[in-house]
Symmetry: D2
Subunit: 105 residues, 4 copies
């Protein structure tokens, strides 16, 4: 089962700055060979259900190993049986209607 | 790795009423033998990481089998290495500070 | 516009235990006179759109005043124009299909 | 109070394809003059708390006016008092650690 996921890992008990933990999760996704794209409030990930969720579990394991005693993660998961759809398809189907919109590059 | 999850499965393309799909997910959680509690905007689930996420995958499979062509699910996932904590512990630690608050039973 | 919300406020940079901040948010909801119910991974809130979101803003203000330098909050928001629905209606429509399910009281 | 938000509006009861509703929400954000950036599972928005939440309310109003009888929206909201931070700052602080990662343009 193919899945598109939005992932936001929040380590707790490690102070205010969490970018090194987020960067570690990017490395986990790279090592897993999963399509992914960071945005300002999470990371889009695309792949097979089992591969994506195995990587998310590894993110928790790694962030704990780095010293975070507590993690709260938000995940959005999309699946569909009517047709194939990639992350690029999703944004392009909106851009086709409002082509000029993004205010950030 | 022990996990506390909040799960909200939203079938798309099946009309406005989705309670039969939510009920099916409750059955999946029961069959998996996982601690769970329905609330007005999702279900809290507690268990081992692998068991909980296997059940979430089964929820997607079942809801697709029931005819929903598209599903978007929100998941919150909490893990911690500093101590054991149950779903009951989490609410009780708040009730210990504001004991009278709930306005709904 | 009537709204049912699920609210989860996560203070960052204050250590691992966040229950006093969550309890303060419960007080904000009480003071606002909003129907609300705490669960293990957030709080369901019901009311008029403007009242509910004014209370959520006050939660952020209070939690910052208590010393949290950073907050990340997850909100789910449901609105509908086809009929009135309360938080109780939502859970009861599922319980009508799987009446025995909850494993926690 | 400055806020960075991730917004994902899901119309229900309108079939499987929701891109025209998402596009309408992009227009609402443009009309409001808010910095925003679409990604594959939502839109990042940056601005003053009141402006951002007024725009989110207008998104619900517009999507209902377009005929959607029910909407379920996910919002992540970040505020901080320790320093100013933009959406670009957030991604760049991660890219500074893992500079090569994105697999999608």
């Amino acid at each position: 089962m193919k899945v598109i996921v939005d992932l936001c890992v929040v380590p707790m008990g490690v102070g205010v700055s969490v970018s090194k933990y987020v960067a570690e999760c990017q490395k986990v996704l790279q090592e897993a060979g999963l399509e992914h794209q960071l945005h300002a409030y999470g990371t889009n990930v695309e792949g097979d259900w089992d591969d994506v969720f195995a990587a998310i579990k590894r993110c928790h394991e790694r962030v704990h190993e780095m010293g975070a005693p507590r993690i709260t993660t938000s995940i959005k998961v999309g699946t569909r049986t009517d047709r194939e759809q990639s992350m690029k398809d999703k944004t392009e189907s909106v851009y086709g209607i409002v082509p000029t919109e993004n205010t950030l590059g």
